[in-house]
Symmetry: C2
Subunit: 479 residues, 2 copies
C-alpha cells in the first residue's frame, strides 16, 4: 500500500488547484507529454486509444447519416483564405504561415489550415454543377493549427485533432436540417458514449463562427463549474457559395447558389471527459471510449494456479469487452492505484479465496463499490457493471450541473450566486443586444454560452438593461 | 451503349501514353481532384475509401505485432531537425518552413514534418529511462510534407498520407529483428491484400534513408516496366539515440544507448494499385481494399419486380461483402462502363430472364468473364469470384514482372534488352562500389533498386567494371 499511497499523493487534489489537478492527470495517466514546440503535444498511446474509440464511434454515426470521408490539403493559399471576408478576419490572426519551400521563398504564402471551409469551397466549385451532384455530405479527420497565446493540453493547443464535416445542399431548408441533425448526432454521442450531459443551443451573433449565419453548439459543465463547448454545427446560408462562385443548375435548369454547413468535434472532448468525470484518484473513463474496460488483477499471484485462473478469466472477458490482465511483479496495491489513475471502469480481482468460492470481485471505478460475483456468469456481471458506471457517472455529472445552475433576474443575483456557490451556469433573460452581453461579462465575469433550445420564461426583462427580454441565455465562464 | 463508348473513350489508352492514362484514371475514377496548391490534392471519397481499407488492414497487422498508435506534433523546430547530421542533410532541402504565427515572426522557424524521427527521439528521451520501458513499439497515421519539384497524384505529392512506425529496443538484435518483421508485414500486405508481387531487398549505401544504417525495401514492377518502392523499413543502430542522448539503465544497471527502427507506407500504394492492375477501361481494384466489392446492376429495371429482386440480392450480398446496387436511371451500358472505370471486382447483373431461371450473371472485372450462377448460393459464388479476381490479378502482375525481368552480364546486355523488350527489372552482378552504381545509371538509364534477399550467382564479375562481384542487384527505372 506504500506504493499506492505514493501514486495517489502524486496528483494535486481538485479542490486545492483544479488546473494543476488537470495537468497532473494528463501526465500521470500518460495521456500526453509536452514537446519543445509550445502548445503542441505528444498524444501518448493511452490518450490516443481514447481518441481512436471516439473516432470509431463518431465515424460510424457519420456514415450512418450518409457522410463520406475525404482528405483536403493542409495548406491554404493566402488569397483563397481571403475570399470570404468574415472568415479571414476571424482566422488570419491565428494562422501559422509557411513562407519557404526548401530554400526558396514562396511566391504566395500558405497558411496551415485552421479550418477547411475555403478548401472545401474550392473543391465544391470544381465538382458541383448540377442538382444531381447534390447534396455533398463530406467529412475529414485531420489536424488543424491555430496560433493560440495561452495553451493547455487538449483544451487549447496550437495543433489539435478533429473531424470537420462540410456539406452542400440545394436548399436552405435542407442545409438547416443537416446543421440540426449533426448537432443531434453530437448530443447523442456526448450523452450516450461519453456520459456527458449537454445543453443544446445557438450562439449569439457576436459568438458565431467566422462566416456563419448560425452557429449551434452543445455546452457541458465541468466539475469546477466552468463551461466547455463540446461541439459546434454551423449553417452558412449561401454566403460562402457566393464568395466562391459555386453554382449549380437546379431542376428548372436555372443557375442557383447552394447552401452549406460545417460541424466539428475535437480532441477537446478528452479534456471534457477528464474534467467531467475525473476525481482525486485520477481519470474516470466512460466505458464506451475506455481503452481498457476491465482490468484483471490477480491477488497472491505467486501461489499455484492463480495466474492460470486469472488469465482464463481475462480471456473470457476479452470476448465481451476490452479486457486486460496485469500480471506484472508490482503489488496489487500499486496496480489498484495505477488503474484507478487510468480510469479503467471495472477492476476484477481474483485470489485464492475467490477461486475456492468460484467467485471474483468487481470494483467500479467511480464509486469504488465492491461486488462479489460468481465466475459462472462473470461476463454478464461485468457488462452490467460497465452499464452501471456509465449511468453512475452520467448522473453524477448531471447532478453537478444541476447543483451549479443558477437562475438570476438581476446582475446582483448573478454575482451573489457565483460568490456563494462557485462557478456554474447562470440562466438569465436577455434583450438581444451585444451591449448587454458585453456588460454582463464585464460586471459579473460570465459570458453568454448559448441561447438554449429549451427556453424558459424566467421574467419579462433583460437581466442587464431591464428592457423587454427576447431570449433566456445560459451564461458562464468557459474553457 | 453510346454512353458506355463515350466513357471508355474518355481515357487515354495505356499504350498511347501511360502517364496520361494514369492521371486520366485518377480523375475519371474520382480518386482525386487538383487544388490551387501545386502538388497537393484532394483525395475524394472513392479514393479515400481505398485508403481507409488499407489503413484498417495494416493497422490490424501493426496491432497484432504489438504496436500502439500515438500522435506527434506536425512541427519540428529547426534546431531539433539538425541534431542528426545525415538526417538534416537529407531532409532540409525539401522542408516547408513556418516562419510566422499570426502576425508575429517566430523566434525559431519550424518545419512541417517531412518524417518524424526527430520528434520521436525527443519523446523517447523523455519517457525511456529503464530497460523496463523498452521496447517502445509506436506507429502514427498522419500526413507529411516534402517540397518536391515534380509532382504526380499519389506517386509524388508535396503532402501525402502515410503511417510511420518508430520503435526503440534494448539491443541491436531486437531492432534488426523488428526491421525485418515489419518488412515481412509489408510484403504480406502487398501480396495478399493488394495482390501486388514484390521483391524484398536492401537498399545500397547511396540509396539509404537519411540517417539509417540499413534500409530494407519492397519493390514492385508497374505495368509499364518501371519500379515502384512500395514500403521501406529502416534500422538506425544507436545513431539517433547518441545524437539525442537517449539512454536507459540496462539490467546490469549500466547506462546504455537503445537501438531504433522506423518503417513507412504511404498513399503511393494507391498509385501502385492503379499501375499494377489497371487497364484501358480504368481501375481494377484488389477485392480486399475495394470500396465496393460487388455492384448489382438491374437489367430492364422498369419491369415489374426487377428492382425488388435486385435489392433483395444486394441485401443478401451486403451480408458477406461490400455490395451496392445502382438503381439510377442511367442505362445498364453506362453503369457497366462506370463500375469498370471504378475497378469494382465483381458485377452482378439481374434481369427478367435471370429471375425466371433463378439465376444471375457474375462478371469479373479483370477478365470480363461472365458466369451464370444460381441465386440459391449466390453469396458463395460471389465470394469465390472475389477470390478469383485476387488470384487472377496477382498472377497477371507476376507474369508481367517475370516477362519484364532481364538477366544481364554486360552493360550492352542491359541496353539491348531494355531496347528490345521495354522497361523492366534488370538482374545483374555488382562489385559494391558507388562508382559502378552511378556509371550503370549514366550509361543505361537504370538505377539500383535493391540488393534482393534472394541472391543468385549470375556471374563472378561486376556488370560494370568486371571486378569480383559482391551482390546481385535489381536495377530499373523508378517512380
Amino acid at each position: 500500500m506504500a506504493q499506492q499511497k505514493k501514486m495517489v499523493d502524486a496528483i494535486t487534489s481538485m479542490d486545492e488547484d483544479f488546473a494543476k489537478w488537470y495537468t497532473d492527470v494528463c501526465k500521470k495517466a500518460e495521456l500526453i507529454e509536452y514537446t519543445s514546440v509550445k502548445g503542441c503535444m505528444v498524444i501518448r498511446p493511452y490518450g490516443y486509444a481514447i481518441w481512436e474509440n471516439i473516432q470509431r464511434i463518431l465515424d460510424g454515426m457519420f456514415k450512418e447519416t450518409g457522410h463520406e470521408n475525404v482528405c483536403m490539403p493542409m495548406f491554404i493559399p493566402e488569397s483563397l483564405l481571403q475570399k470570404e471576408k468574415d472568415h479571414v478576419e476571424g482566422f488570419a490572426p491565428e494562422c501559422a504561415w509557411v513562407t519557404y519551400g526548401g530554400s526558396e521563398r514562396l511566391e504566395e504564402r500558405l497558411c496551415v489550415r485552421p479550418t477547411s471551409e475555403t478548401l472545401f469551397c474550392e473543391h465544391f466549385k470544381n465538382v458541383v454543377h448540377s442538382h444531381r451532384d447534390l447534396p455533398k455530405l463530406y467529412n475529414q479527420w485531420v489536424s488543424v493549427v491555430r496560433w493560440e497565446k495561452t495553451t493547455r493540453p487538449f483544451l487549447r493547443s496550437r495543433e489539435f485533432l478533429w473531424q470537420e464535416g462540410h456539406t452542400l445542399h440545394a436548399t436552405a431548408e435542407e442545409a438547416i436540417e443537416e446543421t440540426e441533425r449533426m448537432l443531434g448526432v453530437y448530443t447523442k454521442f456526448c450523452q450516450e458514449s461519453l456520459a456527458i450531459p449537454v445543453v443544446q443551443g445557438q450562439k449569439t451573433e457576436s459568438d458565431k463562427f467566422a462566416g456563419a449565419e448560425r452557429t449551434y453548439c452543445i455546452e457541458a459543465l465541468m466539475h469546477d463549474g466552468k463551461a466547455l463547448q463540446a461541439g459546434t454545427s454551423h449553417y452558412f446560408g449561401d454566403g460562402f457559395a457566393k464568395a466562391f462562385e459555386i453554382q449549380f443548375s437546379n431542376k428548372e435548369n436555372q443557375l442557383t447558389y447552394p447552401h452549406q454547413t460545417s460541424w466539428g468535434m475535437t480532441t477537446r472532448l478528452i479534456g471534457a471527459i477528464i474534467m467531467t468525470h475525473g476525481d482525486d484518484n485520477g481519470l474516470v473513463l466512460p466505458p464506451a471510449v475506455a481503452p481498457i474496460q476491465a482490468i484483471v488483477v490477480p491477488i497472491a499471484q505467486h501461489k499455484e494456479g492463480i495466474l492460470d485462473k486469472a488469465n482464463e478469466l481475462k480471456d473470457r472477458l476479452a470476448k465481451v469487452c476490452r479486457a486486460k490482465i496485469d500480471d506484472s511483479d508490482n503489488s496489487p496495491g500499486w496496480k489498484f492505484a495505477e488503474y484507478e489513475m487510468k480510469g479503467v471502469p471495472v477492476r476484477v480481482e481474483i485470489g485464492p479465496k475467490d477461486i475456492e468460492n468460484n467467485q471474483c470481485v468487481l470494483v467500479t471505478r467511480h464509486n469504488r463499490e465492491k461486488t462479489f460475483v460468481s465466475l459462472d456468469n462473470v461476463e454478464e456481471e461485468v457488462l452490467k457493471k460497465l452499464e452501471e458506471v456509465k449511468e453512475g457517472i452520467y448522473n453524477n455529472a448531471l447532478e453537478n450541473r444541476e447543483r451549479r445552475t443558477y437562475i438570476a433576474k438581476t446582475l446582483d443575483d448573478i454575482t451573489r450566486q457565483l460568490d456563494e456557490n462557485g462557478d456554474g451556469f447562470v440562466k438569465a433573460m436577455w434583450c438581444g443586444s451585444e451591449e448587454c452581453e458585453d456588460k454582463v461579462k464585464e460586471i459579473t465575469g460570465v459570458g453568454s454560452r448559448c441561447i438554449p433550445f429549451d427556453q424558459e420564461q424566467l421574467s419579462d426583462k433583460c437581466v442587464c438593461c431591464g428592457k423587454p427580454a427576447k431570449h433566456m441565455l445560459y451564461w458562464g465562464k468557459a474553457y
